[in-house]
Symmetry: C2
Subunit: 341 residues, 2 copies
DNA sequence: CTGAAAGCGCTTACAG
DNA sequence: CTGAAAGCGCTTACAG
């Protein structure tokens, strides 16, 4: 207990064995599940562990098991998005906590530049982590590609475009969510519904637009290109997108925005244009991130179940590391009504 | 290169040695700085490394060096703040990148609950990381206390209250920043300047209030308790604080808010009360986080140099791990003028 | 400048 | 159920 200054050498399995009066093999067996150990020995070892304050040396263990018992959280998006988007935080926290429950540390890896990508790919394929939680849904991500080919267990957040079906992912039901929102806007009496999509090389970009088109078609409303612009999920792109929409289709009476952050930008542009929300224009977001509550008015939006998404990502990844086959998990979304629509 | 399915066994130092026609000791020497190695051997080893695609096994290295070559980024704040506060993101990213430049992975550690705190303290004191970047400035943080006593190299972000002077930290010049802001508000002709402080058990809470009081005293303006309330750095606490201020001191003509996020809340409350910003009331924030740009109007604020803060935290921590004494680094702030004051 | 050898702390067949 | 022993991949004095 008393550790006066400096770090002293921590006890090893050898110290525990001596204290318990057994061999190191027996201590190790207790540490690894307690199979083939007599109750007496088991107890003696546990007591010795408590007494010595023993904690396993993970390096020694990893050296022999070949596993690192750690997981990488890899972000290949441009750096700025990471700051700005509250969703990342929620995901990162959820994954860290889910892993902590398994006593597995999370290594944060940022691969923004080409150099970083190379370094990190090398690090991962060298086996320094047992698997990777991937946040990046742009198509043709070279890092994801390489990791896949190297056989590194991998779970993506959102369906990765262009990586084939052998890669695991966890995603929200984007299309259904979009459908719910557009139907909600219709139920409000809106007919000139514009849309600000996400990047069209991401599933969220493609699928949410698809949901929008589906509902319009089902209702016999003609698809009007002037009502459609794309953003990059940033607040600024939402603002710029709304400006283009107002110029192209001044008669719009609603905007479905593919992310809450972009919706914040849309609100700014509408306010500047003198359009009241929700009086003149209804605005619907997507995510139910903290941006939805920060917006004025607060955003009616589609909740992505980020808590469940992170938990499932960890579950699927650990299963895959354990030898299971890749899997895709789709989680339902929910319409959250607030002031903006 | 071609790695068809599955993870094959990576090359070891032994493979490199054989390829280069030298002993493993020589390979190791090349890996660790190249001292006492002939140019010929050096070249042969490098070529062999390239040819085999060798990457050092960090577990084996750590086992013998006793270092983990990894750093923990420890957050002991309640979880919610982590999401909401954009400053954390900037810090986390900056630290990750600064460490990446040294090829040192960052382990993200969240110690929100008592259980997590215990688990993480154990993990760290067991030597699983070489040092810790600490984000928590509440006084009497038990984790920080324990780590300090265990002799774990530690650098805090912001001066830790109650940990004595032997712990390293990097902080912005809180008091000076607050002084600059209050002087700016005075220069605008404001005289009834209110303040929403941070938690008074954090240096940011105490010091920014101190700066406010100093300037008022210097200008012969009486300190009025009704103009002072405290928040917890959250948006909601800013909103609530402004409401109390409006009730206690309806004649206020400016508010200095100790964080941008709280300032967003203040803006919401002022708007609801029908007070125009900056017409009726000038509002000054602190941080220059993304919240400052998201606010309407955009916030005049005090920039904390988070890029430099994270870089310095890493520098000081690595120095300390290398045997240097603890150090405190204070970085200057800057007044950023925008629309709110 | 270089090789042979010891040893870091653990796990895991292998005999008993 | 248990111990003795080999071995994971590396670094580092130690001789030369």
């Amino acid at each position: 207990m008393s550790n006066t200054g400096g770090r002293r050498k921590p006890p090893t399995i050898h110290d525990v064995a001596r204290e318990a009066g057994v061999s190191r093999g027996t201590v190790s067996r207790v540490l690894n599940g307690g199979h083939y150990v007599s109750p007496t020995a088991h107890e003696a070892v546990n007591a010795a562990i408590r007494k010595t304050g023993y904690v396993v040396n993970r390096h020694a263990r990893s050296l022999i098991t070949g596993r690192s018992d750690s997981i990488g959280f890899l972000l290949t998006e441009p750096q700025e998005r990471f700051f700005e988007d509250p969703n990342f935080n929620v995901l990162l926290r959820g994954c860290t906590q889910a892993l902590a429950a398994h006593d597995i540390p999370l290594l944060l890896m940022l691969a923004g530049t080409e150099d970083e990508r190379r370094r990190i790919t090398r690090y991962i394929t060298a086996g320094h982590v047992d698997g990777v939680l991937l946040v990046s849904s742009h198509s043709g991500d070279p890092v994801a590609q390489e990791l896949c080919e190297a056989g590194v267990p991998l779970v993506a957040c959102g369906k990765p475009i262009g990586l084939g079906s052998k890669v695991s992912y966890v995603a929200a039901a984007d299309r259904d969510g979009a459908r719910d929102m557009v139907r909600h806007l219709l139920s409000l009496g809106r007919r000139r519904i514009a849309v600000v999509t996400g990047p069209l090389d991401t599933p969220g970009g493609v699928e949410r637009l698809a949901g929008y088109r589906e509902v319009l078609a089902e209702e016999g409303i003609e698809y009007d290109e002037r009502l459609v612009v794309s953003g990059d999920y940033s607040r600024a792109s939402g603002e710029a997108g709304a400006e283009r929409l107002l110029a192209q289709a001044p008669d719009l009476d609603a905007v479905f925005v593919a992310s809450d952050l972009m919706a914040q930008g849309v609100l700014t542009a509408l306010e500047r244009a003198g359009r009241g929300v929700p009086g003149d224009v209804s605005v619907g977001g997507f995510d139910d991130s903290s941006a939805a509550l920060a917006a004025r008015p607060q955003l009616t939006t589609i909740r992505q179940p980020y808590d469940r998404i992170s938990a499932e990502m960890v579950r699927v990844l650990l299963a895959q590391i354990g030898g299971e086959d890749p899997a895709a998990v789709i989680l339902p979304t929910e319409l959250i009504k607030r002031g903006s629509a």
